[in-house]
Amino acid sequence: MATAASRSFTLTIGQRRLGAKLIGAVLSLAFVLVFNFFLFRVLPGDPAKNLTRNRLVPAEQVQVLRASFGLDKPLPQQFATYVCDTLSGDLGISYKFRRPVSEVIAERIWPTVLLLGLSTLLSTAIGLWVGIRGAWQRGSVFDRLSLGASLALYAMPEFWLGILLLIAFGVGVGSFPGMFPTGGMSSPDTDMTSWAGVVDVARHLFLPCLTLTLAYIAEYALVMRSSLLDELGEEYLTTARAKGLRDALVLRRHAVPNALLPTTTLIFLNLGFVVSGAITIETVYSWPGLGLLSYEALRTPDYPLLEGVFLLFSAAVILANVLADLLYAYLDPRVRAG
């Protein structure tokens, strides 16, 4: 029974934990800023020189350009300007699009959220189911097949899988015609707000979503399987069985909830890995999200845009890590208590 006093006590511990986690996350973000600043301003040399490379530009004009970048100022001052600009949402002007980076990024966020969100949901659901079934019937045909498939999926580059699926279902093989569009997010002349528009986006979404789901299933299935196998050796399951519970109930009420714990946090911690998949798969299917944007930026190369996308990806993953910690603390009573 949690009395009012003990509840407020756990709250303070929870707050202290939260505080420590938040400070850690802020430090990580600050580190990203410093890293970004030095990497892009110090390493590739002078941006003014990069912009005027292979062109005959008078020295005075280079000086003006340098001044417009603030490069004639001392390094600490440049850094302060950079931090202030970034915090106020000014990420510079993209070389490629000739528009503010924040604007370009903002219009590319939602396609990525849609694609990653849907494929994460699907792969989690299927992966957990496969992992639970495999562990529960360890050594069965299902277990061995799913284990083999998971290892193979894990070992192949996800964009290669994407290209193969693209050929098979988008382009068509021999007399077998392609059923799905090969790229983009919608056909040029459909009204996005109508029902036909929704169907059209769904058809475009199908192949990239399938590829990412397949690519992510493997890890969730493997982790769920091994985490459930760990639980299956525990004595409380013998107790549950001795009480006379049926096997299905032992699994559902006792083993799975405990085994879900490490897997749930993994879903959040995995966001870094998910983001990597998005970059290559969006490239393969020319899905107009942040992944394709990073590809366009690195091919140009468009340093301000690349920097902005990196900052956003890092911030998202750091935030997901904080959420994972909070979720773990909420789900695991041992951590919750202190």
Binding site: G24, L27, S28, F31, V32, L39, F40, L43, P44, L151, A152, Y154, A155, M156, P157, F159, W160, I163, L164, L166, I167, V171, G172, V173, T182, L271, G272, F273, V275, S276, I279, T280, T283, V284, S294, Y295, L298, R299, P301, Y303, L306, E307, V309, F310, F313, S314, V317, I318, N321
Partner: protein, 315 residues
């Protein structure tokens, strides 16, 4: 460790040993014995043996391919075939966008893919081991500072970081290996640190310290030998990750433009529209090679881990 010891391993040391043997010779004999035991245990895992077999084949191909296929076959200006022609007697795996043999490209591609994989692994394991041992052995603020950095590298998404670094440094074989190495070491550092911490807290370390052993002696004589088996199994798994990473970076166009690797083949195939004209013969071979090699490294790594990691033994 992967080589069978030819001579019979010494089973019982002390009684049969002549008294003039130095401690070093005893230690060496004991290590050889342990290696023999590990190998005998490893041999029992069929996954490990299959993986090892696949790897031997690929390494042999990578080393000996110049003897059978001259480098001139990779020269775009000397290509003899018609672009994008399907498999035929002359070109068993068809041709690429400029009429080169896909078979020759795939076999040559093994060299760069494996080389970058190994180079990146050396860098990654080197940094990870040093950071892990130093953090675990010295503890206190050294540990917290190093682990702070490690956590940062763990939390930052790998591919965006690698892309940013590779774009800034420019595409070359050494840079790609460096980028993969510098982004993949934190896992090793964590594993090594945990083991180093466990070893450092054992009584014999305290005893050695009481006898006047310095940090260098403790690390090289006591901690390192205990950490090496773990590092070894982990290394094999890292090669798999490094090869996959090289493929991904090369596919995004960040690979060495002057050399053929499996990733750069996929990049060229994709950007020249092999997917839209259905040129599967250009896309399938490099992908299958990556799949086989990564799978083989994973199988070998897991088999080694089962043998060398005491925590997994008996599972």
């Amino acid at each position: 460790m992967t080589q069978p010891t030819v001579e019979q391993p010494v089973e019982a040391l002390p009684p049969s040993l002549p008294p003039q043997l130095s401690p070093r010779a005893i230690a060496r004999a004991r290590r050889r014995q342990a290696a023999g035991r590990a190998w005998r245990e490893y041999r029992r895992s069929w996954e490990g043996m299959i993986g090892l077999g696949i790897l031997v084949v690929f390494v042999a191909v990578a080393v000996f391919v110049p003897l059978f296929i001259p480098a001139s076959e990779l020269d775009v200006t000397k290509a003899t075939g018609t672009p994008f022609s399907p498999p035929s007697a002359e070109f068993p795996l068809g041709t690429d966008e400029s009429g080169r043999s896909v078979l020759a490209l795939t076999l040559w591609g093994a060299r760069v893919s494996l080389l970058v994989g190994f180079l990146a692994t050396v860098i990654s394991v080197g940094i990870g081991s040093v950071v892990g041992i130093v953090a675990g052995h010295f503890g206190r603020w050294t540990d917290s500072a190093l682990m702070r950095v490690t956590d940062w590298f763990l939390v930052i998404p790998f591919l965006p970081l690698a892309i940013v670094l590779a774009t800034v440094l420019g595409p070359s074989l050494a840079n790609i290996a460096f980028v993969i190495g510098i982004t993949s070491w934190p896992g090793t550092a964590r594993i090594v640190r945990a083991q180093a911490l466990a070893v450092t807290s054992r009584p014999y370390i305290e005893r050695a310290r009481a006898l006047g052993a310095g940090d260098w002696h403790l690390i090289s004589r006591h901690i390192l030998p205990n950490v090496v088996p773990l590092i070894f199994a982990n290394t094999v798994l890292i090669v798999a990750v490094a090869i996959l990473s090289e493929t991904t970076l090369a596919f995004l166009g960040l690979g060495d433009p002057l050399r053929v690797s499996w990733g750069s083949m996929l990049d060229a195939a994709f950007t020249h529209g092999a997917a839209s004209i259905g040129a599967w013969w250009y896309l399938v071979p490099p992908g299958v090679c990556i799949l086989l090699v990564v799978l083989a490294f994973t199988m070998v790594g897991q088999a080694l881990e089962a043998v060398l990691n005491p925590r997994l033994r008996g599972r």
